[in-house]
């Protein structure tokens, strides 16, 4: 995937996230997000600092243009960018950094990609739901919301993988 194509896809997915945030309020137990997968798929060559700045900017954009607490998405997304290299190294190994290659389902396998996606989404949702509740909601509610949101967001994020991390052989 060429560099320009990725960022166009990134912006389009950002718009998609805005639509999800503004119009898909099915139940208070489910919070749909594709922001973690977007940050996870930022090219490795961008580096951690760049990824964190992009994550902060992305989160703030969503916060500004959607309903909710300003800064909440950015607060939860920056840690994903900070932990991104760690998650990639843990799941895919350090060779990707040595070769400066981005991951894809075809190259790394669905299981590993799904695991990386799961961990980044989990990290994002834990922080987001914890801060959104602000200590006013019971643990069972937060736990249920985390499980439901993680399941739904994980499925939606898997669908976006084809856009952000396509098969390099195609």
């Amino acid at each position: 995937m060429k560099r320009g194509e990725f960022w166009i896809a990134y912006v389009l997915l950002l718009v998609a996230q805005l639509l999800l945030s503004n119009y898909f309020h099915v139940t208070p137990y489910i919070f749909l997000t594709i922001l973690p997968v977007m940050v996870l798929c930022i090219p490795i060559r961008v580096g951690t600092v760049g990824a964190m700045l992009i994550a902060a900017l992305t989160g703030l954009t969503v916060d500004y243009l959607s309903e909710g607490v300003l800064g909440l998405n950015a607060l939860a997304l920056v840690p994903v960018a900070f932990a991104r290299n760690g998650i990639i190294g843990l799941v895919f190994g350090r060779e990707l950094f040595a070769r400066k290659e981005d991951f894809s389902v075809e190259r790394c396998g669905f299981g590993k990609v799904a695991m990386a996606l799961f961990l980044s989404t989990l990290l994002f949702l834990v922080i987001y739901i914890w801060a959104d509740g602000a200590g006013t909601r019971p643990l069972w509610f937060n736990g249920l919301r985390l499980a439901a949101s993680l399941g739904a967001s994980f499925v939606v994020s898997l669908l976006t993988l084809g856009v952000l991390a396509p098969d390099p052989r195609k």
Partner: protein, 267 residues
């Protein structure tokens, strides 16, 4: 290379913290609920940190604190001892009068008295804690009651004048001869003034006083009035004395102690 890697990770961490602080700032400024929550969390955190630091500081200052407490305790004990000393002195001083210079007077109450034996006694409610000493006299405004024989912490045991074992030095009239006054052993208010030389004349009805020759009683305490007399062995008079003191009603007494008793006894 390794140094650059560490620096890079450190820079990542610093930027991450800065971004998170900025995000938290935005969150607290945009939502009251989150602001309260974060403020509560930060207060709890600061409380824990301050509490822990205070505990550590207190732990390391325990030695100095203990030393300070020991010094305070010592100072308080000193003050207590001085106060007790002053209290004891005040009790003694308040009983001192000029009526019998050279004697210490201590008021006391009779808690037990016997009157129907040949060796009668009484017990007073004052002991050595109150300054009472052995070999002190017991008097009332009506005369002599007895002599302290033994002293405990808060009580004193005394031999009553109605006891064959004690005798006191007495004088008949203002200028009369001195003799020994003892209980007659029969009547509760009659005593015998013995060993009065024949050359001393008296009249029945003269007052008998303590002579002051004894170390136990100050002089000139009225004891009773002289009555009949008889000559003993052709050498001395034995005079019957009707005592002023009514032993059946004695309750409040005064203990008198010669301040120079020990010094004179040493001779």
């Amino acid at each position: 290379m390794r140094g650059r890697g560490i620096l890079s990770k450190l820079a990542n961490l610093v930027i991450f913290i800065l971004l998170e602080i900025a995000c938290l700032h935005l969150v607290t400024n945009s939502a009251a609920l989150q602001r309260t929550w974060i403020a509560r969390g930060s207060h709890a955190f600061m409380g824990t940190v301050w509490g822990a630091s205070e505990s550590v500081r207190n732990y390391f200052s325990l030695s100095a604190e203990n030393k300070k407490l020991v010094e305070e305790n010592y100072a308080l004990q000193q003050q207590l001892a001085k106060a007790q000393q002053r209290l004891r002195q005040a009790r003694i001083d308040t009983t001192k009068t000029d009526s019998h210079p050279g004697y210490t007077l201590t008021p006391a109450e009779v808690v037990k008295i016997s009157r129907n034996k040949q060796h009668n006694y009484l017990i007073l409610n004052r002991g050595f804690e109150d300054g009472i000493q052995e070999k002190s006299g017991i008097v009332t405004p009506k005369g002599v009651v007895g002599i302290i024989d033994a002293v405990s912490e808060h009580h004193a045991f005394a031999l009553s004048l109605q006891n064959h074992d004690i005798s006191i030095s007495a004088r008949i009239g203002d200028e009369g001869g001195s003799g020994i006054l003892v209980w007659d052993g029969i009547h509760s208010n009659i005593a015998l003034l013995k060993e009065i030389p024949l050359q001393y004349h008296y009249q029945p009805g003269d007052t008998v006083f303590t002579s002051g020759h004894s170390l136990l009683f100050p002089p000139d305490i009225p004891l009773g009035v002289a009555g009949e007399s008889r000559v003993i062995n052709g050498a001395t008079n034995e005079i019957t004395v009707t005592l002023f003191q009514d032993f059946s009603s004695v309750r409040y007494v005064t203990v008198v102690h010669n301040d120079s008793f020990d010094e004179i006894e040493a001779f």
